[in-house]
């Protein structure tokens, strides 16, 4: 499988705090890769840096061979990488349709229309509610909208930051089913999750982040990690 994203020796600081301390990982085309780890391990920081919202102090972010280090988020989208941020961050006062249109900001209107049908196919609920103001949607629906909006830019690689956050278990299952569907339809996924159990159960490969570093003794095949005693102890509650 071709390498789609390759992150090399990434260092990110918040002021003087060294949040991400030289991590390297890669995502291959067609995979679901997950970064798991405790609160504050640097998962979101890593994703936000790859997505261009934060600037790395040093390191490389190679997307399809092109170094995107220092490229701002609004240009990263056009390269084919979309980030669905933590906390959903849908535009609360805009309608569902307007949110989706914003997702397709870098695309022509013909492309947007075509993609809209696909997104409605994945999320029929969004089609039902297209005229509703996003702020009035339920948490699960807002998560669907955030994912649909990210898909509107037709990303090759979709990064999802804590899609299960704050959702009821039945909705979490539904969201993860949709992630698998999106992946089957050809979108490569990089998933950051605190719900390690769920993330490992759908991912091909996984990396474990511990205080800004990847634990290389526990990386690789997600199914293996799900069964590993060490991972069970640390991240799956026994």
């Amino acid at each position: 499988m071709a390498e789609m994203l390759k992150v090399e020796d990434l260092h990110v600081y918040y002021g003087s705090i060294h949040a991400v301390k030289g991590i390297s990982f890669e995502v291959h085309e067609g995979e679901i890769v997950t970064l798991i780890g405790a609160n504050g391990a640097g998962k979101s920081t890593t994703l936000n840096t790859v997505g261009g919202l934060l600037k790395a102090r040093s390191g490389h972010i190679l997307f399809e061979g092109k170094d995107l280090h220092g490229v701002p988020a609004n240009k990263v989208v056009a390269e084919g990488m979309a980030l669905c941020p933590e906390g959903r961050r849908v535009f609360q006062h805009m309608t569902v349709l307007e949110n989706l249109e914003m997702g397709a900001y870098t695309r022509s209107s013909a492309e947007a229309e075509e993609t809209l049908e696909k997104v409605y196919g994945l999320f029929p609920r969004l089609k039902e509610r297209y005229r509703q103001v996003a702020g009035t949607l339920s948490g699960g629906e807002q998560q669907m909208l955030a994912m649909g909006r990210a898909l509107m830019s037709r990303p090759k690689l979709l990064m999802l930051d804590e899609p299960s956050m704050g959702l009821a278990p039945i909705l979490v299952q539904q969201i993860f089913d949709i992630i698998v569907d999106m992946n089957k339809q050809g979108t490569t996924i990089l998933l950051v999750e605190q719900n390690a159990q769920m993330a490992l159960s759908i991912a091909n490969r996984a990396y474990i982040l511990e205080t800004g570093k990847i634990n290389h003794s526990m990386e690789g095949d997600a199914a293996d990690l799900l069964n590993s005693e060490e991972v069970k102890k640390a991240y799956l509650g026994g």
Binding site: A73, P85, Y105, R149
Partner: protein
Amino acid sequence: MLANLINGISLGSVYAIIALGYTMVYGIAKMLNFAHGDVIMVGGYIAFYSITLMGWPPALAVLAAIVVCTALGIVIERLAYKPLRSATSLAVLITAIGVSYFLQNAALLLWTSNTKVFPNIFEKLPGLRLGAMQIAPVTIITVLANIVIMVTLTLFTTKTKMGKAMRAVSEDKGAATLMGINVNRTISLTFAIGSGLAAIAGVLLCTAYPTLQPTTGSMPGIKAFTAAVFGGIGSIPGAMLGGILLGVIEIFGKAYVSTQLSDAIVFAVLIIVLLVKPTGLLGRKVNEKV
């Protein structure tokens, strides 16, 4: 009574156009551009000299004022506010006040403190007779301009891709960036539109009240800011409603209570409205998300 109402609506329309500039910039950049009133004054001077010095027809003079003010708005944003994008709002506010003084003093230097008498550019247009009352052409044009601007801006922000992007930026800059929207360019555009509107407001204001000096923009600027807060800052229809109400209250205050106290009445009404409804008349509550 009716004459006062019409005068009030006319003055209020000028406030509304200025308030739109305040409210749009606030909505998007989350800052109060206190130099906005002084951009009005610059617009007034540009139109004045285009007519008196260059002998240009009024339409061309208005266009020149719009072009210069739009450019000025972009330059002010780039030089004074953009470097402070991540600074505290207090620093930005103080800078805005500084820019305001800078513009006033630059005008003093360039155009002196002598009061200029602004020509009546709508002189040749017919007024409107309503019974025994004559409505001046400038009144009609001001109200019409206000309506046209309001409708255009509403259509722009709800129907065009760029306008929707502007609303997206005003809600969440980070999320907007993730959509591929260039936030800096969107902010620039907002300043450009706001300043272009200030030019139009400047010409209308100076035509209705034909004295022009470097401080001409201050008071209308403050009042329009009041109008924007009154209507609900960040809201386009709110700016419109706030502006017109403020104009009407001011004129009625002058006519029926006291000329000296009219400004005090205006601000007293503002205080009462804010006590009862802190978000302004049409403002919406910003829900803090967890």
